[in-house]
């Protein structure tokens, strides 16, 4: 065991896999000598050499496209897209190619790649360093989407993603790289080292894809969240003294429907929280699923607390962010709401 923040955990996950499997290669803008703009790949080029961890041209299309070809050869590439906001030029290669390879070739060719990319706001990154585009990818058949919320999970899920034989989009909430941000942006952030989830095994372990984690048990309402919002939701729940069950989804596709269903059947209420824009966000899918499967157990409308349907504004980012006030209001409404 070692104490790691999320970046260190990711770095350790990459290192572990590069050591175990010669076919694991890392590529992306500034990931080589420099070790990545968030330092996630620091030291890997030095340790494994330039053909295992290298910089690329600034072409997201080329990065994912080349990775598809590497998969066809037999490698297991882990490309980095510097910010999720910049994944769009690589979208066709990800959607039409990586995600479709196994299907269209009836299993002859596969794309066991893990595309890593930082998501989310709260760092005054403006509209092009703050986006959470995960919902789009959850609509793509053949693609898995994973978002960790702790160092322990980050490493375990990353290893599971790299070992997975299908393409995985691994989105890292950059706001919690250093510590579990709880939404109170005026307060100093406590580093991960102060939390148990920073205890990370040195070597190989996995956190399975498709399995959610109950972060906090409770009976009053089920809160579904992932990434940064797990911490914010948990903090608000505690602040409001509500006996909520907080579930960290960890994998969006395939989502852990069993855990969700069991919880909502128990609580009869459900709040969904995400940072992404509201309309057609992943919260919509969660809401639809819960409603379809737990309709007769629901005692109040399922609520969504989300980012607004605007670009992420630079100066008003805390007005945009679905923080404690927005979540708190919704929570109170749900638990107060009595079925008429």
């Amino acid at each position: 065991m070692a104490v790691m923040n999320m970046i260190e955990a990711i770095n350790s996950g990459l290192e572990t896999m590069m050591e175990r499997d010669d076919n694991v290669v890392i590529m992306g803008e500034d990931v080589g000598y420099f070790g990545g703009v968030f330092r996630a790949t620091a030291g890997l080029q030095e340790k494994f050499g330039k053909t295992r961890c290298f910089d690329t041209p600034i072409s997201e299309c080329g990065i994912i496209g080349a990775a598809v070809g590497m998969c066809a050869y037999g490698l297991r590439p882990v490309p980095e897209i510097q910010f999720a906001d910049y994944i769009y030029p690589g979208m066709d290669q990800l959607i039409s190619e990586a995600a479709r390879l196994r299907y269209r070739s009836a299993g002859e060719y596969t794309a066991p790649m893990t595309v890593r990319s930082p998501v989310g706001g709260g760092i005054f990154g403006g509209q092009t360093h703050s986006q959470s585009p995960e919902a789009m990818f959850t609509h793509v058949s053949g693609l898995k989407t994973v978002i960790p919320s702790t160092p322990y999970d980050a490493k375990g899920l990353l290893i599971a993603s790299i070992e997975d034989n299908d393409p995985v989009l691994f989105l890292e909430p950059k706001r919690i790289y250093n510590g579990p941000f709880t939404g109170y942006y005026d307060n100093p952030v406590s580093p991960w080292s102060k939390f148990a989830e920073s205890e990370v095994p040195e070597g190989h372990y996995t956190v399975p894809l498709g399995k959610a984690k109950i972060v906090r048990e409770g009976d009053a309402v089920t809160v579904l969240a992932y990434g940064t919002m797990v911490h914010v939701a948990k903090a608000v729940v505690e602040e409001h003294g509500i006996d909520a069950e907080v579930i960290d989804l960890r994998t969006l596709v395939p989502v852990d429907i069993e855990t969700i269903e069991a919880s909502v059947r128990k609580t009869g209420r459900c709040l969904i929280v995400h940072e992404a824009t509201r309309t057609s966000g992943f919260g919509a899918e969660l809401s639809a699923l819960v409603q379809e499967r737990c309709f007769y157990h629901l005692e109040a409308p399922i609520e969504r607390v989300t980012g607004f349907d605007t670009p992420y504004p630079h100066s008003l980012e805390w007005a945009y962010f679905p923080g404690p006030v927005r979540i708190g209001e919704a929570l109170e409404k749900i638990v107060r709401d009595l079925k008429s």
Partner: protein, 424 residues
């Protein structure tokens, strides 16, 4: 500002929108087309720096001369056996195309695409590669599969999307895949295979392997960003890859001018990245072979990528969904000054004294028989839309390696619907 002239004193600009030389009904005149004599092109040493061979992008490598002799430094000096195999393979391809096109017209499948007139660009190219070199085709390189011996019946099964189709009826006809033959799964999205081929080549190089990659796209497809990504990656990492542009003059209804042909050859793109680039008479199978061989030797000796423009002509429609008489002059094909690759090789072999009209006739008949036989065999496994398709469950397989819960639920739903529609 140094000089701020009022706008009104300046001459008006105008937008140039390219227009092909000939439209339906027009008389075709190819005299403006520069076609150098066969044998006239120097063959640079394979160690030549791209910059030192930049002028080749405006030339055209040609081997077969007007008397059907193989001439000049690019003559690959192939033995009879190889040449006969080349001819036979091209005839197989053309026969298959004709026959399968007809099947589509008869309603046995939804779609077909021929490569008529362009057979050399895949057949001769693939023959110049090793069987374990990896090919990333577009939808018009069926020739590679013929070179590598893919069974005709399998091809027809795919085209009929039937219960024996190895791709489980999922793909549009002719979107083949064969891992065994190092033939990458064909995509409907243009040019995506370009950076993929470069990635494969990078992987091969980084593993110290000796296999190289080859990739094909149409001249129209070079406009996609993927083309640029591939060129950039190939240049940066010196990837062992041969990038073929099949310039067949047309992209559906748009002539090559809409991909930039009015200003530069497609081979010139390569020079822009410092990549070795050749321009080849794509209807001259020996030239295609020789250029591919040159590029392959270069790649195999760690000298990196080569771009090859194959100057050819799409003799028929874009696909079965298209009628070219609506946008181009029928004469274009008839008068195409570079002839037809099969004819030219036939004439060369006859001139060489190893082939005759009778033998050609026999070959044509034999190839037709083989295709008919394959069609008959495949039809036993079903034709599109007539019941003998893959089981419904296959629709949910291979989305992921393991089927997640939501696909299992959906598969159950699909089976339930089948039961409702066709109670067993």
């Amino acid at each position: 500002m140094a000089d701020e002239k009022p706008k009104s004193n300046l001459p008006p600009l105008s937008l140039h929108v390219p227009e092909p030389n000939f439209r339906p009904g027009d008389t075709v005149d190819y005299s403006g087309l520069e076609i150098p004599a066969a044998g006239a092109q120097a063959r640079p040493d394979i160690n030549t720096k791209p910059k030192d061979m930049r002028d080749m992008v405006d030339d055209m490598i040609r081997v077969l001369d007007d008397d059907h002799a193989a001439v000049g430094p690019w003559d690959p000096k192939l033995d009879d056996e190889t040449l006969l195999k080349m001819l036979r393979t091209m005839v197989q391809v053309r026969t298959f195309d004709d026959r399968l096109h007809r099947q589509q017209r008869q309603g046995k499948t939804s779609f077909y695409m021929k490569c008529t007139g362009e057979e050399a660009t895949s057949v001769a190219a693939a023959m110049a590669l090793h069987a374990d070199d990896m090919c990333f085709p577009s939808y018009r390189q069926q020739g590679i599969l013929f070179v590598r011996g893919y069974p005709l019946t399998e091809m027809v099964n795919q085209i009929f999307s039937n219960k024996a189709d190895k791709l489980k009826g999922r793909q549009l006809p002719i979107m083949y895949s064969s891992r065994e033959l190092n033939f990458f799964t064909v995509s409907g999205n243009l040019t995506t295979q370009y950076p993929q081929a470069v990635g494969w080549a990078m992987a091969s190089a980084s593993k110290g392997d000796s296999r190289i990659a080859a990739v094909w796209c149409g001249e129209g497809s070079t406009a996609e960003g993927d083309f640029h990504a591939a060129m950039t990656f190939a240049a940066v990492y010196n990837a062992p890859v041969i990038m073929n542009i099949v310039n067949n003059q047309w992209a559906i209804s748009s002539f090559s001018g809409f991909a930039g042909a009015e200003r530069a050859t497609f081979a010139a793109r390569g020079a822009g990245y410092g990549i070795a680039a050749l321009r080849v008479d794509g209807n001259d199978p020996l030239a295609v072979y020789a250029a591919t061989r040159w590029a392959a030797e270069r790649a195999r000796t760690n000298q990196g990528p080569t771009l090859i423009e194959h100057f050819t002509y799409r003799a028929e429609a874009h696909s079965t969904s298209d009628d070219p008489t609506a946008y181009r002059s029928a004469q274009e094909r008839e008068e195409w000054p570079l002839g037809d690759p099969i004819n030219r090789l036939n004439k060369h072999l006859i001139q060489r004294g190893v082939w005759s009209d009778e033998q050609q006739e026999a070959l044509d008949a034999e190839c037709l028989e083989a295709v008919k036989e394959a069609v008959k065999e495949a039809a036993k496994n079903g034709i599109l839309g007539h019941g003998l398709h893959q089981p419904f469950e296959t629709m949910f397989q291979d989305v992921f390696e393991e089927m997640p819960w939501h696909l299992k639920e959906q598969a159950a739903q699909a089976n339930k619907e089948r039961e409702i529609k066709w109670p067993s």
